[in-house]
C-alpha cells in the first residue's frame, strides 16, 4: 500500500452505481466496488464486455455520481468533475473542427495561456507522440492510431496527476496497439502519473500495469480479484509477452476471468432472447 506521505490518488469505497431504466426499474451496474490507485501506480481494470469497467472510470472522473459509497481523490471527497484527472476516451473525442495542433493546444488555451505559448508547447507534445509534422491536419485526415496519439497529447499537455483511460487502444489493430502501448509506457515512465486503465484485453493489462484488477460479469459487477504484476520495468510490450513470468500470471488470472467471460456471454445471449 502507498505510504502516508503520498496520498492515494484514487480511492473508491463501496461505490455502487445504478441507473434508472424504463420508469421505476433500477439497473445496478457496479456494486460495492473498492479500488485504490496509489500515487504513481499503473492499475488496469479487466472484465468481460458490459461489466461496468467504463462506469467505474466515469465515477473516478466525476462524470458519474455513485448511488452510494465514496470517491476520494488525493484523500479529498470528489465533488463535481475530477480536476486532477485527464481522460482518454474510447471513442473519438477530438474536436473535428480543430487541427491536430489546435486540439492539443486547447487544454492550455482555456486555462488562459497565450496562444503563441500554447501552440509552441502543443508542437512539443505532438513531436513527443511522433506527430510533429501533422499539426495542421484535421482529425479526419489522420488514421485511427494517429488520432489516439493526438488524444494522448491533448490529455498530457495539461499535466494531470491522474490519467484515466477507457480502452483507448480498443479500435486499433494489433500492431498499432503494441506501438501505442510502448509509447504510453515511455511517456508514463518520465513522470509516473497514477493511471487507471480499462481494457478487455488481459495480455495488454499485464504488459502495461503494476496491478491488474478483475471485475465480474454485470449486472451488479464486483471486483473479484487483484494481482500485482511483478515484471520489471522498463518493459517492451511485444517482448514481455514471451517471458515465463508473464505466462504464469496470465494463466493464473485467466482461470478466474474465464468463468466471468462465459457468464457475461451467457447473460448477454439470454438478454437478447428475452427482449
Amino acid at each position: 500500500m502507498a505510504d502516508t506521505a503520498q496520498p492515494t490518488a484514487v480511492a473508491l469505497g463501496d461505490a455502487t452505481v445504478a441507473f434508472r431504466v424504463a420508469g421505476d426499474r433500477v439497473y445496478t451496474a457496479v456494486e460495492k466496488a473498492n479500488l485504490s490507485v496509489a500515487h504513481g501506480e499503473f492499475v488496469a481494470i479487466v472484465g468481460p464486455t458490459g461489466c461496468g469497467k467504463s462506469t467505474l472510470l466515469n465515477v473516478a472522473a466525476g462524470l458519474l455520481k455513485p448511488a452510494s459509497g465514496s470517491v476520494k481523490i488525493f484523500d479529498q471527497p470528489l465533488a463535481g468533475l475530477n480536476r486532477d484527472a485527464g481522460y482518454l476516451f474510447q471513442a473519438d473525442a477530438l474536436f473535428p473542427w480543430k487541427t491536430a495542433i489546435d486540439n492539443v493546444a486547447i487544454g492550455l488555451e482555456i486555462k488562459g495561456a497565450p496562444r503563441e505559448q500554447a501552440l509552441q508547447r502543443a508542437q512539443g507534445w505532438l513531436t513527443s507522440v511522433g506527430l510533429g509534422a501533422f499539426g495542421n491536419r484535421y482529425p479526419h485526415m489522420l488514421s485511427g492510431g494517429q488520432r489516439k496519439r493526438v488524444g494522448l497529447a491533448q490529455v498530457l499537455i495539461r499535466d494531470p496527476k491522474i490519467l484515466l483511460m477507457d480502452e483507448p487502444f480498443g479500435p486499433l489493430d494489433a500492431q498499432t496497439r503494441q506501438i501505442m502501448g510502448n509509447l504510453l509506457l515511455e511517456l508514463w515512465n518520465s513522470d509516473r502519473k497514477a493511471v487507471l486503465f480499462v481494457t478487455h484485453d488481459l495480455e495488454e493489462a499485464i504488459a502495461l500495469a503494476d496491478r491488474v484488477v478483475i471485475m465480474s460479469a454485470g449486472p451488479s459487477a464486483r471486483i473479484i480479484g487483484d494481482w500485482r504484476v511483478p515484471l520489471p520495468r522498463p518493459r517492451d510490450i511485444s517482448e514481455i509477452r514471451m517471458e515465463k513470468d508473464f505466462h504464469e500470471l496470465h494463466r493464473e488470472i485467466w482461470s478466474v476471468l474465464k468463468d466471468e467471460v462465459m457468464k457475461g456471454y451467457v447473460q448477454s445471449t439470454q438478454a437478447a432472447e428475452a427482449s
Binding site: 468533475l81 481522460y87 473519438d92 473525442a93 474536436f95 473542427w97 487544454g107 482555456i110 479526419h140 491533448q154
Partner: protein, 262 residues
C-alpha cells in the same frame, strides 16, 4: 468519363433541346406547327430579348434589386435562425413550449403571407425580404437546433474533462457544431432567399426579376417570360457557385463523405 467528354455531353443536351424547341415552333410537321409560337415563343426570340435587356442595361437594375433582396433575406433569416436555434437547443423547456407553433408556422405555405407583408411593408423591397426571411429562418433554425442537439457526448465530456466551463463549451464545441450544420444547409437557404425575393416580386412590386417576368406575362410576351426565366436560372447558378466557394473555405475540417447534410 473524362472531363472534356462530360462537358461535351452536357453542352449537347442544351443544343439538342434548343434545336428541338426552335424546330417545333417554326417548321410545320405534317402541315401544322406542333408548338404554337404564341404560347412557346422560340429560342431566337428569347435570346434576342436577353441580349436586348443586357445591351440596353435595363436588366441590371432588376438584377441588383433581386440580389439585394435575397441577400438581406438571407442575412436576416440566418442571424435570427442561429440565435433562436441556439436558444431553443440550450433551453429544452422553451423549445417544448414553442414546439407546436414552430411546426404550425413552418407547415404554412409561405406564399399566403405575401399579401400580408405587402400590406404591412408596402410594395418596396422589404415585403420581399420579409417573405425570404420566413423561408430562410426555418431552414437555418432547424439545422442549428439539430447541430447543437447532436453534439457528440464524448466530445462534450472531453471538453469538460479538459477543463472547459459552460462558456468555453459554447465557443469551442456547440458553436462550431451548430455552424457546420448551418453551412451545410447554405445551398438550400440561399436558394430559398432567392425564391422569397422572386415570388414576392411576382406578386406585386415595381422592380426585380420577378417583376420583369410578371410584366411580360401580363402582355402575353412569352419570349419575355422565358427570357426572364433564363436570366433567373443563370443568376441562381452564379450565386450557387459563390456559395460552393465559401463552403469549401469554411468546412475544410469535414471529411468529404459527410457533405450534403441538410
Amino acid at each position: 468519363m473524362s472531363r472534356l467528354m462530360l462537358l461535351t455531353c452536357q453542352l449537347l443536351v442544351a443544343v439538342v433541346a434548343l434545336a428541338l424547341w426552335q424546330f417545333l415552333t417554326t417548321v410545320p410537321v405534317f402541315g401544322r406547327i406542333l408548338l404554337p409560337p404564341f404560347f412557346f415563343s422560340n429560342p431566337i426570340d428569347v435570346g434576342s430579348q436577353i441580349v436586348k435587356w443586357f445591351s440596353s442595361g435595363v436588366i441590371w437594375k432588376h438584377l441588383i434589386i433581386t440580389l439585394w433582396e435575397s441577400l438581406l433575406a438571407f442575412v436576416i433569416g440566418s442571424v435570427a435562425g442561429v440565435l433562436v436555434g441556439f436558444w431553443f437547443a440550450r433551453q429544452p423547456r422553451v423549445a417544448a413550449v414553442f414546439d407546436p407553433y414552430v411546426k404550425m408556422v413552418n407547415a404554412l405555405p409561405r406564399v399566403v403571407l405575401a399579401p400580408i407583408f405587402t400590406l404591412w411593408l408596402g410594395l418596396g423591397i422589404w415585403s420581399k425580404v420579409a417573405l425570404g426571411v420566413t423561408l430562410v429562418f426555418f431552414i437555418v433554425f432547424f439545422n442549428v437546433y439539430q447541430g447543437v442537439k447532436e453534439v457528440s457526448n464524448t466530445v462534450l465530456d472531453n471538453g469538460r474533462m479538459l477543463g472547459m466551463n459552460e462558456r468555453q463549451l459554447m465557443r469551442h464545441v456547440y458553436w462550431p457544431s451548430a455552424l457546420s450544420w448551418m453551412f451545410s444547409s447554405l445551398h438550400t437557404s440561399v436558394g430559398f432567399a432567392v425564391v422569397g425575393a422572386v415570388v414576392g416580386e411576382y406578386l406585386g412590386s415595381a422592380a426585380g426579376l420577378g417583376y420583369l417576368i410578371q410584366q411580360a406575362e401580363g402582355v402575353f410576351d412569352v419570349a419575355g417570360v422565358f427570357a426572364g426565366m433564363f436570366v433567373l436560372s443563370a443568376f441562381v447558378i452564379l450565386i450557387d457557385m459563390g456559395v460552393t466557394l465559401v463552403e469549401r473555405r469554411l468546412l475544410v475540417w469535414r471529411p468529404a463523405a459527410a457533405e450534403g447534410r441538410g
